[in-house]
Amino acid sequence: MKVLVSVKRVVDYNVKVRVNADNSGVDLSNAKMSMNPFCEIAVEEAIRLKEKGIANEVVVVSVGPKAAQDTLRTALALGADRGILVETEEQVESLGVAKVLQKVVQEEQPGLVILGKQAIDSDNNQTGQMLAALTGMGQGTFASEVLVDGESVAVTREIDGGLQTVSLKLPAIVTTDLRLNEPRYASLPNIMKAKKKPLETKTPESLGVDVKPRVKVLKVEAPEARKAGVQVNSVAELVGKLKAEAGVI
């Protein structure tokens, strides 16, 4: 079975982003960029499926600028077999990414597609579900366990209040949640080897997909800052303030 994994290049999760002075967006110049953490979990899951002999090929795809090559090379160093960059300078929205991925799915015919549940920049949590709609596949979102069994996959999902397990007919779409696995680090020899792995470049146009944004960003602002309060010196003082000043207990 072939497994397709999509990865996104985003600002590193340790970077505290700042809003531009003209409120047009956030300032990412010189910011460290990395693979979206949920996408790392997706890559790891695909590699584990290959190690178990369930998958025979892991293909990674990214929709983004030329620099997203680095993100694909990271995935190749972790163990993916080949990469596809769908290169565009446009800020592609979830629906656009899903449409691009739909074309890649048509070409590659994977048995399973794994995506991160959400990117930590746009925080949309949409692409996997949208891809499932466009390809007419079943969806196992927010996965904490993925068990492939012949023609179907059992996905345990993190839902409000606990877990839900669903069975999906393959091919299917899975999006990852935090506890699915703990991603490995790439070893130096594997980083070197990854440089020789095949990486193909396409464009949304060559795939016949219009990725122009549908939603206009009018303005981006810093959130209202919360004022720091007071230090209390004892539990008794804390309880006193909660009763008298806050009135919440």
Partner: protein, 308 residues
């Protein structure tokens, strides 16, 4: 302009989140209907009919909708939601699972996790884990939107909407429900509790969370955790408060042993009062806390329990 709200429920009870989503819908326009899709869920429809200001309840009962499978419910929505200008659901795991599938099927963009309605086509939503707030405008014929429920005050229950049954029974055959493992708890739900007691990496282990649970039981509070505590394997992910977990805004939020990473703050900074208990005086959590106590939480938490 008319708005369809997807009810959040478990076939028995209407979840409170629906009341907040109806409030967001009413900020967009006056004609608000609620879809109750499930199985043997007429009690839920009755409860939804009482929500103030709702016009009609659309009730679709089928085995295919019992477990809110996105494949089947989105197919139902494509049938019943044709005439609406807006489709809204809570930004819960149910809403997040379902609505993007509906949006893509309608070939429209979705707007996730709105925190305010500026006009019927313009909304505010947090991005970058709440480090920035974007104002976005949609030009789509249908606006598919998930709502951050803590940002909207719940509507009351003085209504008397009409219940309209639809007989629709679509099972796509793409997915099947296997099982639920829900955490049975006497404590209030994390998302709607008035008081939340959360622990972080400083708790040291899952067993140590028992002191927070004991305090929570005394205060009638829900128990939460930071992502660090979840990643460390102390507690399950459904307890996670933060941008990648639940967004809460209780009257009182007590953070114990939580350093205050930006992604955690994004999940609780709208709480009315924040108490931080941490032995590190430099912890960033103190910058957002109304009341900060630099102390060993293993001494302070039992002392607090005794004092409240």
């Amino acid at each position: 302009m008319s708005i369809l709200v997807i009810a959040e429920h478990n076939n028995v009870e209407l979840k409170d989140a629906t009341r907040n989503v109806v409030a967001a819908a009413q900020a967009i326009g006056a004609e608000v209907d609620v879809l109750v899709a499930g199985f043997s869920c007429s009690d839920v429809a009755e409860a939804a009919a009482k929500l103030t200001g709702v016009r009609n309840i659309i009730l679709a009962e089928s085995k295919a909708y019992e477990h809110q499978l996105a494949e089947n419910i989105s197919a139902l929505l494509l049938e019943v939601a044709k005439d609406y200008s807006h489709i809204l659901a809570a930004s819960s795991t149910m809403g997040k699972n379902l609505l993007p599938r509906v949006a893509a099927a309608l070939d429209v963009a979705q707007i996730s996790d709105i925190i305010s309605v500026e006009s019927p086509d313009t909304f505010k939503r947090p991005i970058y884990a709440g480090n920035a707030i974007a104002t976005v405008q949609s030009a789509e014929p249908v606006n598919v939107i998930t709502v951050r429920t803590t940002a909207f005050d719940a509507v009351s229950t003085t209504g008397a909407a009409q219940i309209i049954k639809v007989f629709n029974d679509i099972d796509c055959g793409l997915s099947a429900f296997v099982s639920d493992q829900l955490v049975e708890s006497e404590r209030p739900e994390l998302g709607s509790a008035n008081i939340v007691v959360s622990g972080g990496r400083g708790m040291g282990s899952g067993e140590n969370f028992s002191i927070l649970e004991s305090l929570a039981d005394k205060m009638g509070a829900a128990v939460g955790a930071s992502r660090a505590a979840v990643d460390s394997g102390f507690v399950p992910n459904d307890m996670q408060v933060g941008q990648t977990g639940k967004i809460v805004a209780p009257d009182l939020y007590i953070a114990a042993g939580i350093s205050g990473a930006i992604q955690h703050l994004a999940g609780m900074k709208d709480s009315k009062y924040i108490v931080a208990i941490n032995n590190d005086p430099e912890a960033p959590i103190f910058q957002v806390a109304d009341f900060g106590l630099v102390a060993d939480l293993f001494e302070a938490i039992p002392e607090l329990e005794a004092a409240v």
